[in-house]
Symmetry: C2
Subunit: 320 residues, 2 copies
């Protein structure tokens, strides 16, 4: 299995390949938050990334890694989230069609964003079975290549570039905290850390209401995510079979946090750092607030995964 | 009158004087917003400034410009907004007491912020008369020096440093848009533009519901702000006698915008640029959205004045 892991050269090549098409996002610090959590925290702002999330890294890398004969028919995926937008945008950049299967109850703002990027949407019932069967039909009909949101090595390699950049932008980090959903960002982050920042420990952070990665990590087998309940809508999915072995090998631990801490962390970043993030991005800071990473005076990186949030229903808003 | 205007040397000296105590804030662009308004817009992010607003520039400059014998007794002001926080913070930096007169109905979050910075608060009735008479009593008792939020040349000079920085961070701007309340930021911006960016036109932007600067500018006499009604809570005050002559001489025009446009501009900056701003900061972009600055294809600077907003009542939140 390990032989298939993306290599350090793969990640360096991906950085070169995608650099004209993504932002090298900034890293911010905030003195109030540092005092509060008693560590020095470096936030990698993928909320400022193209299409509003780290997903643009993997999507661009995946498309540019296709063979020419694969590219002609376009790309396809099922997603109601950031991957859909990122893949549609990346395909549009290179003049490829992007076929996106979305559940018919997907938020209008996400549907509009995919359409804005020229994505060709097929709606389906809101079940995993319907999403997968509809995607198979779309692929049979179009000949498009499936680009899975996380269970795909070129996606993992693309997502790995965020941490690789971060290590160049900060002093040596003792810890790097990363949210975990399907494991695309986490597995990429873990690889980059192993290759480019020896001595930095990667900690995965997950909502307690969607703790399948926690249970998978400590049991050694993928435990599916069943009826997850969390505001962190990017972290609902189960780990991928390509992501899990990387995570088992290179991640030091998985911690879980409460919904209240996620909202508190989100509010802190809005109120003090003046940035807009989506709930999933707040999960690592929530772990620091809860003391789940029980260290003081350390240098801690945090990947803020994205900023695509429904502004009409922000959780700290209490307007009547 | 003109002889009293701060000079280019005054502004350059202020930059040196304050640089260790403030952020050199970044300038951001957003391709979606550029397409929408058909100009290239450069946002100067004073929402990321210390204490969350440009006011920290003036407050630090004012305190560091006091004679040593003036400093011993501390500083005083009446304010329920960003100046109160900025002055308290600046005074704390240099170990001076800051006496802040606040109306007793000031938002709790603003009171807490002033206290966090060590400000000594005296509450009063929520009228201008009560604020001024209470401030006089505080000054009589303490011997503190009054630092007016805008009608003060060292404040104007401090605020001028934001535009001076912006000109170094961007290509030559055709226009520079600035919100106007009391005129501290606007008069400083106008001076920096006249001194450091010849050929750039300064346009003041104001809510139609608080259009005293518009009426003052075009009548040539200060028209007081009477019962202003706007979400832009930083822009309620009347122009200062020291600010107005500078504005008349160096500002090209004043435009007004609707409340709906202010909210739309605010939402755009949250949704697309992923940054948190206060309503006052959205007023210049609202002017571009409304076509009040009727140009295309130009390079336009916008000063985002601050990011201190009540997150519980964001105007685009519609949670029930």
């Amino acid at each position: 299995m390990q032989n298939h892991f993306p290599t350090s050269s793969d990640i360096l090549d991906a950085r070169t390949r995608i650099q004209s098409y993504i932002h090298k996002t900034q890293v911010i610090t905030n003195s109030y938050i540092n005092s509060l959590v008693e560590n020095e925290v470096f936030f990698k702002c993928e909320n400022f990334q193209k299409a509003g999330a780290f997903k643009s890294r993997g999507a661009v890398n995946a498309i540019l890694s296709l063979r020419p004969d694969q590219q002609t028919k376009g790309v396809a995926t099922h997603s109601s989230g950031n991957h859909a937008q990122a893949l549609a945008r990346a395909a549009q950049l290179f003049g490829l069609p992007a076929y996106i299967v979305m559940p018919k109850n997907a938020p209008l703002v996400k549907i509009a964003a995919v359409k804005d990027y020229g994505g060709i949407i097929t709606f389906c019932e809101p079940t995993l079975e319907a999403r997968e069967s509809t995607l198979r039909k779309v692929i049979e009909k179009t000949g498009a290549v499936e680009i899975h949101p996380y269970n795909n090595y070129t996606i993992i390699t693309g997502q790995a570039t965020a941490a690789a950049e971060l290590f160049e932008q900060t002093p040596k980090l003792n810890y790097l905290l990363c949210p975990v959903g399907g494991g695309g960002l986490l597995s990429g982050t873990a690889l980059s850390t192993a290759y480019f920042s020896e001595g930095t420990s990667v900690i995965a952070c997950e909502p307690a209401g969607a703790d399948d990665a926690f249970r998978s990590f400590y049991s050694g087998e993928i435990v599916p995510s069943v009826q997850p309940r969390t505001i962190a809508d990017g972290l609902l999915t189960s780990l991928g079979t390509r992501n899990f072995p990387i995570i088992l090998k290179y991640v030091e631990g998985v911690v879980t946090v409460s919904e209240a801490s996620i909202v508190e962390a989100m509010r802190l970043l809005y109120e003090r750092a003046k940035i807009v993030i989506e709930p999933s991005s707040a999960v690592p800071l929530a772990a620091l607030i809860e003391g789940k990473v029980a260290v003081k005076g350390k240098k801690i990186g945090v990947i803020l995964s994205g900023g695509n949030v429904d502004l009409a229903t922000l959780p700290f808003c209490n307007k009547q």
